[in-house]
């Protein structure tokens, strides 16, 4: 039993570390490891993934007493769309065939991957518009952060707020209906659609996905999908891993993070597409 617990803690540390750097919940990494390698039933793997998302988010949160990279206004503004989406997703269970959602979301992810490659080639990480976006100004979403790698404060603007809200609503539906953490969609809404720089995008996604996951976690908690023997050592490992990941992310360049992100996006996109057609 102690070996099993230690193994789960180690897996959790890895998933939390990678998840916190990329702004992903870790479900993408965990579900295959748990089901394929550890022989965990898919029901308990999904339950553990939901807890993993929350642990990643909270582990990243406590890395700093004052987090100066994440954008709290963007997080809460978009969180309205995500939590509403999660609630709609839960209500829509059985109404919509998940098949079409898998195909739709996979195409979105592949498109986002293509956009990230374009950003890598063009070397354009930060948006500078001549005129600030009206909605963005109204909701005070433009902000700045200190980039450790470049050694300076980076002011940034965001745009296409309605588009960002729409993707976030979709991300919420995906997490409520398909039981996925949807961190990839959150980063996509901020980075690809709203043109927020990558580091604030992943940090803000880290915060948001915990809140979204909490909205659906009680369902899993009370229906018995969360097995303590799996979820507890995993969550403990993740808390430690995510705390480290969140700190190390600050010293990585946005380009490096993007280069790790792109293949993962394509991997998730193709996997979801296969689920949709198969």
């Amino acid at each position: 039993m102690i070996n099993y617990a230690l193994l789960m803690i180690a897996i959790g540390m890895f998933a939390g570390f990678a998840g916190a750097i990329l702004g992903l919940g870790g479900g993408i990494i965990l579900t295959p490891i748990l089901t394929l390698l550890m022989g965990v039933d898919i029901k308990y793997a999904i339950g553990a993934s939901i807890i993993a998302v929350i642990a990643t988010s909270s582990g990243a949160t406590i890395a700093y007493l004052r987090d100066k990279v994440l954008n709290l206004r963007v997080a809460m503004f978009l969180e309205i769309a995500t939590t509403l989406g999660a609630l709609s997703g839960a209500l829509l269970t059985g109404v919509i065939d998940p098949k079409y959602l898998y195909i739709l979301f996979s195409l979105l992810l592949l498109f986002s991957g293509y956009n990230m490659i374009r950003k890598l080639i063009s070397h354009q990480e930060v948006l500078h518009r001549a005129h600030p976006d009206q909605l963005s100004s109204k909701f005070k979403l433009d902000s700045s952060y200190f980039d450790n790698v470049e050694g300076k404060t980076i002011n940034y603007q965001v745009e296409h707020i309605p588009g960002g809200l729409a993707v976030m609503y979709g991300a919420g539906i995906a997490s409520g209906l398909l039981g996925i953490g949807s961190g990839a969609f959150k980063v996509m809404a901020m980075d690809t659609v709203m043109k927020m720089p990558l580091k604030p995008s992943t940090s803000t996604s880290n915060l948001m996905m915990g809140v979204t996951a909490a909205a659906s976690a009680t369902v899993y908690f009370f229906n018995g999908s969360i097995k303590p023997m799996i979820a507890v050592p995993l969550a403990l490992g993740i808390l430690v891993g995510a705390r480290m990941g969140s700190r190390i992310m600050r010293d990585m360049s946005a380009r490096t993070i993007r280069m790790i992100f792109v293949p993962i996006l394509f991997y998730i996109g193709i996997e979801m597409f296969m689920k949709g057609i198969g």
Binding site: M1, I51, L65, A213, F222, M229, V232, L236
Partner: protein, 126 residues
């Protein structure tokens, strides 16, 4: 607003954010501690305290199990506390925006909290 009061305000906000950081850290620490106690008990006792490797999934079972120091009951409480940590994040954000005097965001964040509350009730009822 002259420069001095503005500086005072930023300093005050820095204090508020430090306080919030500490509250959040405490919340996560409490849930982690409960999970660790449960896990250590599980390893020491060698079983979760329930027949057929079952575990409690509602509050009355969990409370009863904690009274008997059943490892799985304590672990489930730790998980539930962890689920509450993002909610705590939203609550302290409301306070932070309130101290900043940003009423628009006090409202926006309160809406998020209300939707979360509805989801919780929904989860318990389902």
């Amino acid at each position: 607003m002259d420069k001095n009061t503005k500086e005072q305000m930023t300093e005050e906000m820095a204090d508020v954010q430090l306080l919030i950081g500490k509250i959040l850290r405490l919340g996560v620490m409490i849930s982690a501690t409960v999970m660790i106690i449960g896990l250590v008990l599980l390893i020491v006792k060698g079983n979760g305290g329930y027949p057929n490797n079952a575990f409690p999934t509602d509050f009355s079972q969990i409370w009863a199990g904690i009274a008997e120091l059943k490892p799985y009951a304590i672990m489930m409480l730790g998980i539930f506390l962890l689920i509450l940590t993002p909610v705590l994040r939203v609550v302290v954000s409301i306070y932070s925006f309130y101290r900043e005097g940003d009423n628009l965001y006090v409202w926006i964040t309160t809406i998020v909290l209300v939707i979360l509350g509805i989801s919780f009730v929904f989860g318990i009822l389902r």
